[in-house]
Amino acid sequence: MAPRIQSRRLSNALLPYLTSSQSSSTSSISSTCPSSKLFSRQFSSTAASQTRLRRHMFQWLSTEGAALKHHIPGETNYLPSRPDRDGNSNESSRPFPGNRNFVSESVLSEDLRNEVYVRVVEKKKSLRAVSVELGIDMKRIAAVVRLVEMERRQRAQGKPLSLPYARAVHEMIPTTALAQEGERQPYHEPINDLPAHPSTGAQIFYPVPESRSFTRVDAGRVFSGAPTLEKAVADKISHPSDLVDEIIENPNSIEWVGKGEKARQVLQPADVRIPHPQLIKLEIDRKAFPNERRAVTQRHAERLEKQEAAEQQRRERAQARREKSIQHVEPEGSRFDYRIQDAKFTRETVGADGRAPWAPGRRYGVPADDRKRGMVKIPTRVEA
């Protein structure tokens, strides 16, 4: 007969699950450094079981490295950096002691992710608005919505999830938590990042009379090699953010300079190129009317609405144009839908002799390259 197992012992089944609870337990490693005497084998004639390097490694792992073996929930547990000249070494967010420029940045917590999904999908707010509210990049918001939707679908289908893994990872790395009700949501990341344009890399000596006001608009024109704005046009621009509205309505209105291969659009000021240009107008309004907070926010909302409507319209127009150029053919009794698009025979699409390798269709007399040596067949994009 099998021995009886007492209930008290069994109740300890709880324990492995309690180890990763969120209450942080401090670690204290009894670092009893094994003395070097232990390792010296002066009078031994048997072959060493370990090399010197391995011995050092295991010694390190049992002393300094022991703290890194298991994580403490809610804290990062990286290699401690070597103390610098000032003697301060405790940098908890730098995983590499040798690299001071790399920081382990926080990720979105589970609650915050769900909140993003709720605001975008259920409350039907725009990505732009949610991005400003929560301080999350717009691309990240789109990705979060995509991922949470996928997760919900997988849960509904009963597919396997890796929940303990997710919990452990979120315990190990810093996270941005969702703020309590009534509190201000801390920003997750900077949302108005201006990408450095390659044409601004050049150092240009450009003499300007001291009497002239040289603005960001002018600087952009100089960098892209465009002629100076005419005075009549320049006077109309009181602030570089005035250009935003027109460009959002019609991005093709940006001026072009150069010919042929070197044709490029004039570099726009930072006010236009940042992801949230509408926030500048808001700041200007706030400064101009410090006592009319409600009117300012209302005007901001109107501007946002107008901008989104313009963007939506443009998207629809592009979609309609695309649809128009594609002819759908669905033969009777067939499960296929053929989409036929007219080939355009221009120098750019088929090359000078009409037989360029990127030209559409099979070309008589031109062998296919795909079996040749050294031809790379790894896909460059996967359609979603």
Partner: protein, 433 residues
Amino acid sequence: MRNRASTSLSKGKIRQSWSKYNLYNLSRFRTPATGNRTFFQQKWTAKAVSRAYHGEQVREGQWKRMFSKRIRSVIPMNTADLAADDGSKESAGRGSGLNEGSGRSRSSRPIPYTQMAFAPLERRLDVAIFRALFASSTRQARQFVIHGAVTVNGQKMRHPSYLLNPGDLFQVEPDRVMYATGAPKTAFERRESRQLKQKSADAEAEAETKPEATEKDEKENARDSLRALMSQAKTIMSTDKDVLPAKKKQELRGFQKAVRRVLSRSDTSTVLTDSLEAQFSELTLLLKAKRAEKKPAKESKKEAKEEETSAATTKSEETTSGALSEAFQAAAEGGKVDTSELTDEEFDILKRALTQMRDNPIDHSKPYATPWRPREYMSAFAFIPRYLEVNQNICAAVYLRHPVARPGSAEVPTPFGETISTPAYGWYLKRRW
């Protein structure tokens, strides 16, 4: 088995790996000395050291074709500053502002451009999988891709060198991720899984009419462990029939181990480590001390919570609502604490333990130690760069954009400082420095 070729102690090279050998190498790494060496030698060493970490699986010629001297960077803009003026103040006078005080007094940190020298490699699928913490090394990530465990935008992708485009969504099979990041099985667990396999094979040979036998077993395993937790002495007798005593013994041993681990990390080392009861009571006492600090719980609130949780967990177990109170009793009796009252905190902890137990059952058919726990030394390597958005629940991630440098920080994770990355960057320029 550890890849002996790639993590050697004598060379001390740092790799994209979570192994303890690599951790030791990382901890003892020192910037190579430059004095007494020619510029060429310095660049050569910097290149060798950094290439051992970045794209060690990529041939040198392949990497040279990928290298780009152009480095992406961004400047975070402040809208208040942009609104304040149109830029004419900065360019006034002789081109740098009229007086010193007119410009912004913010001290702008330099952008570490050369830290981004290996940014093109971060686009590779195998590296991205490693960065998303889905594999314990880039080589393992590569294996996952080749073995067909990875999809990109929903399609199976078998090329580890596929370069992700911004917006690409990649997903790894959760079981592989749990295997890669989880603790390995002990010898005992391996034997257990062997026996399980043997048993299922026997069952199949005997009667082919029950194809879902093993699945049922797995489900019952999880339920059994739950039941074991919740039931009291008399109910154990009935459940014992289903489960082998060896299995129970093994479970107990695992728990004992876990307890020791907890205690070795806690402040009080006075606890006896031989008897489980003593340990558990110590833990409960600690809990009680914590509870005493907090405000006393309200009865009505507790009841409401109880109802909530019972509603939430009904789908998993039909007997939960009834058994929850039993679990309380069991937990309290095991610790020999007064059974009369249960605070919110204790309740929360038990609730969390129950849900975790449901999510993380003991299952010997899995290739990793169950219940799942992170592998050793994982936390020292755990970080997720900002150019990835990861959902760990489904083991999927989106490659948002290419990594960028910004004032004071670079997004490419590299263990080397600028003293190494700058000569390495110079090495790969067409017109070499």
